[in-house]
Symmetry: C2
Subunit: 297 residues, 2 copies
């Protein structure tokens, strides 16, 4: 297959951006891949020979954008939005602009508002993949193998088709979904679990320090796999996730409010020693979660 793009510019070389940039290079999806990121991610990517070139100086951005026929926004969502004015000035007329943000309405609305000349070149995308690791050290060229990538419908069929083929060439399956439905769905099944995991981790730290005098926070005596699994994603980047939560505020507030109702109900049942009520609620959850397991297998 000939390369889909001549010069790809990936902004952000974290887990997703780094994996995408390295995958574009490895599979020959772009002839030349350039990365723009923080100095330590640039160093890590170049050491791994994953890209053709990479830089971290902001003043080099205009030239790199002007030279690219594919630009991927893979920074935290608020930073992606802050780069739109620069893109509007320097993006080529026929270049494809896409992103990998976990929220889709905030960035799509910002594109519509801030990009006049180049808005139609933007294809909103969200690969359902990741890691609790941060930065290029968590990147891997096979991260998207078998993953689903959500694309939002886009008026520019050519740009949409090229982004779809890019993800398929990386081994992913593409699903098309409106920005609004995407943000509602992932508020529930991704953003809420992250907020819950952060709150649970802070609770465990607070209580083990306060009640058990575990001021080193090292959780002696040992913890079981249940704690480790429920809080694994709380090791994720706080900056990234604060940005995602604020960018999906409305949908996430609905999810959080329902969760607070549910946990408060359980707290009330426990306070009343209502084993029957607790059991019924736990069994409803267990039955649903086992069905999800069956579906995933």
């Amino acid at each position: 297959m000939p390369a889909l793009f001549k010069n790809a510019l990936v902004m952000g070389l974290g887990v997703i951006g780094g994996s995408l940039a390295a995958g574009l290079k490895k599979h020959g999806i772009a002839e030349r891949v350039t990365g723009y990121a923080l100095a330590n991610d640039v160093d890590a990517a170049l050491r791994a020979c994953a890209l053709d070139s990479a830089f971290s100086t902001e003043s080099d951005l205009p030239g790199a954008i002007a030279n690219a026929d594919l630009v991927v926004l893979a920074l935290p969502v608020h930073l992606c939005i802050s780069l739109l004015p620069t893109l509007e000035i320097y993006l080529q007329d026929n270049a494809v602009l896409t992103d990998v943000c976990s929220v889709k309405k905030a960035i799509s609305d910002a594109v519509t508002l801030q990009l006049v000349r180049t808005a139609a070149q933007f294809v909103p995308a969200h690969p359902i993949a990741g890691s609790h690791l941060s930065g290029f050290e968590g990147a891997s060229t096979d991260l998207f193998e078998g993953a689903t990538v959500i694309l939002a419908p886009c008026p520019n069929d050519v740009a949409f088709g090229r982004v779809r083929r890019m993800w398929e060439a990386l081994g992913a399956q593409v699903e098309v979904m409106s920005n609004e439905l995407h943000d509602e769905h992932y508020a529930i099944v991704s953003h809420l679990p992250h907020v819950v995991a952060f709150a649970l981790t802070n609770t465990v730290q607070t209580l083990t320090e306060k009640d058990l005098g575990d001021t080193c926070g090292l959780l002696t005596p040992p913890v079981g796999k249940g704690f480790l699994d429920t809080t694994r994603i709380a090791a994720s980047s706080g900056e990234l996730w604060a940005g995602i939560c604020v960018a999906n505020q409305q949908a996430l507030l609905i999810s959080l409010d329902e969760f607070i109702v549910q946990i408060s109900d359980l707290r009330r049942s426990l306070g009343q020693n209502d084993a029957t009520g607790l059991r019924a609620s736990f069994e409803r959850a267990s039955e649903f979660r086992q069905r999800v397991n069956l579906k995933q297998e």
Copy 2:
């Protein structure tokens, strides 16, 4: 090594009881191992040739107890407590009585209250191991390899020493801890995460059905690994966990109340679009959780 016990009786052949019974047999820790459990767990254990014999008829219990020099209580905690009067009548004078319950004060207090003749023969134990599976199908003879088992101090040195050696022969490391400290610690790092996972799962089911019309509860479009990990333990037995929560009510209420404070704080920050506040809280959690990862490695 000669067998530590002649006739072991394990009551309950779920993940923990089944693994223990099969391990006692496999490693020759007991000469003869008998199981008492629900019919389907008895069938599964006998099919796997994991035990010498097993039964599910309650009227056979007195004879089996009278014949055992080791009795292990491995049923949900409220069922273990309900068997104490029978044990008081039939347990041999020199037999060892132990358990595997996830709460220690409730069962130890019940033993002190209900057993007059045999209380000193009881060694409270809690292996930090398990599975989201239920029943003998989740059992495995190497479940305790490398695991920690918490034992509470016990006035009978001989009984304590035999239980310690039993767990060490199964590959576990023994830590000694008071019942009170055990229950406080595991309320925080185990019981709370379970309640949170149940509430999160019910929230996801409620919202995907109500807001997204996903009445099959099959979570289309796809969910990421974050959701699967945070809710994995919500597939656990509702009966077992309702019993554990009620048996550790006091400590768990303290944990739940702190968690509700933490999640409500995050909800308030999000409502106020306070990205800085969210980020500070998320970063505190992330830093702590990464330290836990380093300790586990």
